[in-house]
């Protein structure tokens, strides 16, 4: 009875009592959510274009951040380091296409998936070989001060990071939804053979999406890295992107955004208001539970393409 009260009445009272604090919780959750969206977006891009879940996306985030920090440590100015790292991610896309993808055209998805696992391990080792394995601080000069917005205390870094993420996400969403390139990309995702037969060069499409995914990884790496240091655990945020994808749908760019926001906000609110009832640490598993519940009712996600099976 006491437990029931703790998970029903107490949280509601808590919210009603101090709605400014509730607002703070929601907004900081949403800001984290944008970051989740950013990581999830990298997955969606590659999934759309090659129908493969890119296991290496998390490592790409780490690899990009490591490269950036490494360059800055060598004394390269920040703006130049960012440009060089972008170049590195594009070069990586070319190499991946040349060494892996082109040999696996028309293979079952599981084979492509396995190859990305291999890629993940390689990149992890290669990144550490180049730049070392210790935790590095990344300071890109975004101010980190508390600001008072309508009575709520918010961190300026979170707001800037969210703004950068949001604009990137928005432009990508428009690009893939409304341009011929976006249509070509969806075509490749649907059927390699058919896409080739209408003259879409797979190579160009794959290099493009892997480059874009690499750059998205860089942005995610910079934002998360500046927040919590560049270290191996950075690659683990990829696992947070999984529930985001299940919620939003693997093929939907808008889905990745909304999914990220729901997860980010949901886990914060759950932690603060429902956490005490079960002894805390809800934040760690809330996203996965939400994803599981979602799978029961809407396996294609909020915005994913309807799964149509013909008998």
């Amino acid at each position: 009875m006491e437990f029931l009260e703790a998970i029903t009445i107490v949280p509601i009272l808590g919210i009603a009592e101090d709605y400014v604090f509730f607002g703070e919780v929601v907004i900081s959750g949403l800001l984290t959510g944008v970051m989740y969206s950013l990581v999830a977006l990298g997955f969606v891009l590659i999934f759309k274009a090659s129908g493969v879940f890119n296991f290496a996306q998390g490592i790409m985030v780490l690899f990009a951040a490591l490269t950036l920090v490494g360059l800055i440590d060598y004394g390269v100015p920040i703006w130049l380091a960012i440009i060089i790292t972008m170049g590195v991610m594009v070069a990586l896309a070319y190499i991946i296409e040349y060494l892996i993808l082109r040999h696996l055209v028309n293979q079952p998805d599981i084979i492509l998936f396995m190859s990305t696992i291999g890629l993940a391990f390689f990149l992890e080792g290669f990144g550490e070989l180049l730049w070392g394995a210790n935790v590095k601080a990344l300071n890109i000069g975004i101010p980190e001060i508390s600001m008072d917005v309508g009575g709520m205390l918010l961190n300026s870094f979170d707001i800037i990071a969210a703004a950068v993420g949001a604009s990137l996400v928005a432009s990508l969403a428009l690009f893939f939804q409304f341009t011929p390139m976006g249509r070509a990309l969806r075509a490749v995702a649907d059927d390699h053979q058919a896409a080739l037969s209408i003259g879409i060069p797979l190579k160009t499409i794959w290099v493009t999406v892997w480059s874009v995914a690499g750059i998205v990884a860089l942005v995610a790496g910079v934002m998360w890295g500046a927040k919590s240091g560049v270290q191996f655990s950075l690659s683990l945020i990829a696992f947070k992107a999984l529930p985001v994808l299940i919620l939003g749908g693997f093929t939907s760019v808008p889905g990745a955004i909304i999914g990220g926001l729901i997860i980010g906000m949901g886990e914060k609110v759950a932690e603060v208001y429902w956490g005490p009832a079960v002894g805390g640490a809800i934040e760690n598993w809330f996203a996965y539970m939400l994803a599981m519940v979602f799978l029961f009712f809407r396996p294609q996600g909020l915005f994913g393409e309807r799964i149509i099976e013909r008998v």
Binding site: P180, R183, D191, L196, S197, I198, G199, P201, L202, I308
Partner: protein, 274 residues
Amino acid sequence: MTTMVEETQTSAAQARVFNETLLSVDDISLSFGGVKALDSVSFDIRKGEVRAIIGPNGAGKSSMLNVINGFYHPNEGSITYKGTKRPEMRPDQSAQSGIARTFQNIALFRGMTTLDNIMTGRNTKMHRNFLWQALHWGPAKAEELEHRTIVENVIDFLEIQAIRKTPVGRLPYGLQKRVELGRALAAEPDLLLLDEPMAGMNSEEKEDMCRFILDVNDEFGTTIALIEHDMSVVMDISDRVVVLDYGRKIADGTPDEVRSNQGVIDAYLGVSHD
């Protein structure tokens, strides 16, 4: 009554004469491991004709189409297209050079609508560079409208206005085949390859498809090479027929010539051993 109609159609088709060679395959051999799918096959496809490739199952018909379209690269032999010997080509390059095709087991973009599917067929004709496309503005915008007009014409031609906005995954089989033809037509191809365009259709759908194929050939002068199992259809709509068996060419000529060829009769009915 029906036989009379068929006869007039056949003789009308035979009256057509084609002189200019669009594509010729010379001594094409293709093997997968130890299996010879094609064994020095040569024939040509002339501009403006309807050319049928027939043969029993496993004769190498689809392999031949895949060689022409660039999915397979022959071990030996050469392909001459539009007067020049063609280097080894990827399928997207052959599409760029004006060869469009449909597949035996439909290969559509199932998540997209009919309209979007046919629109993808315009891909080879889209020339604006990447940046314009990304901005979706200026010349690219005007170009998109132009493509849209052509696609709408294809939709009207195939009488599929009612399903423009339907995701193709939900369409019945016969309509999917039609959308796939539409996508190939949208490319305004010089050579249209159809891999069993009527397989699995009922007789009404077959009639429609026949009509579309003949109309495409008539109205746009598109050269068509098709694989088909239904003999009456093949004999009705094609100008010339090439017959493959076990990867080898066993006959080549007008429907009437092929029909009376002893080798063809043997291949289809089996040779009597008494």
